[in-house]
């Protein structure tokens, strides 16, 4: 699990991961723990017994786990505790799948990649998110000074399950690539002409259904198109497509 503190025990890192991703399904928790079904269920049971988390069968497939107020406090995450909304479950699973897949890639740890979750971004905005401001599903920060060619970059991650209209997709891409300020900054600093862009590139991880629209939107971006990467969601990212990892 990559939550920025590689020295943490796996259970602590998983607690932070569950807090940052709003909620996890147990199979994804198992992937994060690099354990099997039994290990994930056992850890979730311990969290629930300690009052750190709630679990429940919110959708088909494995049970979901989300942190309580005490769990968020234990993880040091200043978020408001709430059960995940049913309408967002598919999206949450897809984003978590993308994060787990990227974190597991060989170059991620070497490059010192750090995933900044949507929940963290929104927390920085402190409820000031305007209706027109789009928040990505995550950011990946690559610290400078590593051997990775993309060291020093910041990527915006978008998980696309269902196709939006091309115009909306283009608008989101433009906004991501034109943004100059951090989330939560003054509105005047959000997109200042002349300043370097915040996101060096936008990585779209999309379902097969959403991929054509995203591709067309990228083509319409003209000179910005090279800064948009498109990949398919990893296997098992769809709701109801849970795949338990083999126990070590």
């Amino acid at each position: 699990v990559s939550v920025g503190q590689s020295s943490l025990p796996a259970s602590a890192a998983a607690l932070i991961l569950a807090g940052e991703m709003y909620a996890l399904q147990l199979d994804q928790l198992a992937v994060a723990l690099r354990s099997g079904r039994r290990g994930a269920s056992s850890l979730a049971g311990r969290w629930r017994a300690a009052g750190l988390a709630e679990t429940g069968p919110l959708s088909q497939g494995p049970r979901w786990v989300w942190l309580t107020r005490a769990g968020l406090a234990r993880a040091g995450l200043p978020y408001t505790a709430a059960a995940p909304g049913l309408s967002r479950l598919a999206h949450l699973r897809a984003v978590t799948a993308a994060r787990l897949a990227l974190s597991a890639a060989p170059g991620f740890a070497e490059g010192g990649g750090y995933w900044r979750s949507e929940r963290r971004l929104r927390a920085r905005m402190a409820g000031r998110a305007g209706l027109r401001e789009h928040v990505p599903d995550g950011e990946v920060h690559w610290p400078g000074g590593t051997a990775a060619p993309w060291a020093g970059e910041c990527w915006a991650i978008e998980a696309e399950l269902t196709p939006k209209t091309p115009a909306r997709t283009i608008a989101i891409m433009r906004e991501l690539l034109h943004r100059t300020g951090d989330y939560g900054c003054l509105a005047a600093d959000a997109a200042v002409p002349g300043r370097p862009p915040r996101h060096h590139r936008a990585v779209y991880v999309c379902s097969a259904a959403a991929r054509p629209v995203v591709s067309r939107a990228r083509e319409a971006l003209g000179p910005l198109a090279p800064r948009v990467e498109i990949r398919l969601l990893p296997p098992g990212a769809a709701l109801g497509d849970a795949r338990w990892p083999d126990p070590p």
Partner: protein
């Protein structure tokens, strides 16, 4: 007996004081009895003073209370009959005092609100009208200067209100129903209808306008807003089937880096307003001079070259004859400047007209042939000045909004030639367009090119083509070279005159005319006390105060039209983020332009663009490892 006639006996000093005291007492009792109405009136009076509202606004507010009063009376009539409804105001007043005495202030207020609020607003309006007229006439206040102080204070209040209005999100739309173009919030009006939004009808934007304001007064902000509003309103009218598609063409005759920054704002603002495509000439888009009809091309080419007077007229005629021979040759007009220069050789003309030319044309080639070298030299110089921006391909039909940058500050002769060529192209486009367009031609910093672009001729030509011309300058003197031309331009501005702060506004303010106003003189008692005795007379005062124009702040403007003026606070348009720096257009790569525009992109977007800075490193290896290879489209 003396000869004195009978006069009413004057009250003695003691009696007068008594009468005044009695009158004050009666007035106080009446005011106290009508407490709720007086309270509302006082609040309305104070609000009008504080916000600088005209009395009419309070009367309008009272009018908006009519539904409430009607409903209240109707409910009273339904419950207790019409007689009770007739007596309802008195009953409400009586119940108010009863509830107030019983310690129920809220109930008392609710009971008396239906009659008291409109009555109070009317009373407040009358009191405010009396007070403001009293002071403006010069009769009020401790000294005659009170009128000036009152006016200046009210101006400050009105400015504060207007600024608050434009700061409120969504309070000042770009365009409203009825095809009104909203420029900002009204500060004050004279001779125009009062309101909160300073709006002009779309037809005024389809007429000629003049904009004058010195640097840094918000002229560009005002112009951008007008252009964007013109585009948005025109597109809506087109969608409704009430007009043709709008086209905005701006000639920025300053040039330089500042013009590029404005061009970027222009592009973003116009795109937000609905323009499907925008173009910046000559940096990112080109136009073709060679698409002009042959006869028109001949005239334009000859006009582009400066000619002297006197004996130089002979050479002008020679040049025109040779240009006509080269352009209107039997094989068709030239397609580029090099093509024209190739034709200006004796051998080429002789060959071109060998089989088909008339005897007169052959005679012209023979007689004027010896000047061909000189004519070619002049055109070679001209084409070097004009640059590649007019070599094509491209036409005004390629974009909804054009921002043409002319280097008028740096190279005046070049800008003059370019302005002349661009206006010829535009007027030809307007006259020959297969799909009609509603065109607005805005010439910013007109003084830079006014020597070679006689705008009153353009005005007259434009009127017949349905093309509106908007001329802007930093000062009255910058409008044209001579006083006569300036007055022609200003007098032809049927769409109105926009005045921002400028040091010499008198010629323009004078066009608004004058209005009758009351002037009052008062006797000076013992300084600093003025007596109440004096006399008043009507006199004409300017509708637009030149002194006020000189004192206008940044973002404030005066719109003069039809003998009236509206002072307004211009609402700045906030556009989408600018394109990233570090991405530059590769010049002169027009191949993909037409295809790009067909796809609905901007003319500049459609150009091949490349990152000017370092290319991003390939992150494909990491993403491939995480998610697999990029799917094929």
């Amino acid at each position: 007996m003396t000869g004195r006639g009978a006069r009413p006996a004057r009250p003695r000093p003691g009696e007068a004081t008594g009468l005044r005291t009695a009158a004050c007492l009666v007035t106080a009792v009446l005011l106290a009895a009508a407490g709720p109405t007086v309270l509302v009136g006082a609040i309305a009076f104070c609000a009008a003073w504080l916000r600088g509202w005209p009395p009419r606004r309070l009367l309008v507010a009272a009018g908006w209370c009519a539904p409430m009063v009607a409903l209240w009376l109707a409910m009273t009539a339904r419950d207790a009959g019409w007689s009770a409804a007739a007596a309802a105001p008195f009953d409400a007043w009586r119940d108010f005092w009863r509830f107030a005495a019983a310690g129920l202030p809220l109930r008392a207020a609710v009971t008396v609100a239906p009659p008291a609020i409109p009555a109070g607003l009317v009373a407040g309006a009358l009191a405010w009208a009396y007070r403001s007229d009293y002071l403006r006439s010069g009769a009020g206040g401790r000294s005659p200067a009170a009128a000036v102080a009152f006016d200046q204070r009210q101006w400050q209040h009105q400015v504060r209100s207007a600024r608050a209005r434009i700061a409120a999100p969504g309070a000042v739309p770009l365009t409203t129903r009825g095809d009104l173009i909203v420029a900002g919030a009204v500060i004050r009006t004279s001779g125009h209808r009062t309101g909160q939004l300073a709006a002009i009808g779309y037809p005024r934007m389809r007429s000629h306008q003049v904009v004058v304001g010195t640097t840094g007064t918000g002229k560009t902000t005002l112009l951008l807003r007008l252009w964007a509003a013109f585009m948005a309103t025109g597109l809506r009218r087109q969608a409704d089937g009430r007009g043709a598609r709008p086209l905005v063409v701006v000639l920025d005759c300053k040039g330089g880096a500042a013009a590029r920054r404005v061009a970027d704002r222009f592009r973003r603002v116009l795109r937000e307003a609905g323009a499907k495509s925008t173009a910046v000439w000559p940096d990112e888009a080109t136009l073709s001079l060679w698409d002009l009809p042959p006869r028109r091309l001949t005239t334009t080419l000859v006009d582009l070259v400066e000619h002297g007077t006197g004996s130089a007229a002979y050479y002008a005629d020679v040049m025109e004859a040779l240009t006509a021979l080269a352009v209107e040759a039997p094989c068709g007009p030239p397609r580029s400047s090099q093509d024209l220069l190739d034709r200006l050789e004796p051998g080429w003309l002789g060959t071109a007209y060998a089989g088909t030319g008339s005897a007169a044309e052959h005679a012209q080639i023979r007689s004027a042939g010896r000047h061909l070298g000189d004519v070619a030299l002049r055109y070679r110089t001209l084409f070097r000045r004009l640059g590649a921006g007019l070599e094509g391909p491209g036409s005004f039909a390629d974009a909804d909004a054009w921002y043409c940058i002319l280097e008028g500050t740096d190279q005046i002769s070049v800008a003059e030639s370019q302005a002349r060529a661009l206006t010829d192209l535009l007027t030809t486009f307007a006259a020959q367009a297969t799909v009609p367009r509603e065109i607005l031609l805005a010439v910013d910093e007109f003084s830079a090119v006014s020597r070679r672009l006689p705008v009153w001729q353009l005005y007259e030509r434009a009127r017949s083509l349905g093309l509106a011309v908007q001329v802007s300058a930093q000062s009255w003197q910058g409008l044209a070279a001579t006083q006569d031309e300036r007055y022609r331009i200003a007098a032809s501005a049927e769409g109105g005159i926009w005045l921002l702060r400028t040091p010499h506004p008198e010629p323009l303010t004078g066009l608004a005319g004058s209005r009758p106003a009351l002037a009052t003189t008062r006797q000076l008692g013992r300084y600093p006390r003025w007596l109440r005795q004096g006399s008043s007379r009507l006199q004409d005062v300017p509708v637009v105060d030149p002194g006020l124009i000189r004192r206008l702040d940044v973002g404030q403007a005066a719109y003069i039209y039809g003998g009236g003026v509206t002072y307004l606070q211009v609402k700045r348009l906030v556009a989408a983020p600018a394109a990233l720096t570090g991405m530059q257009a590769v010049p002169n790569v027009p191949a993909s332009r037409t295809a790009g525009q067909a796809a609905g992109r901007t003319a500049s977007d459609a150009r091949t663009l490349r990152p000017a800075g370092p290319v991003l490193p390939d992150a494909g290896s990491l993403l491939d490892a995480a998610f697999g290879r990029e799917p094929a489209p």
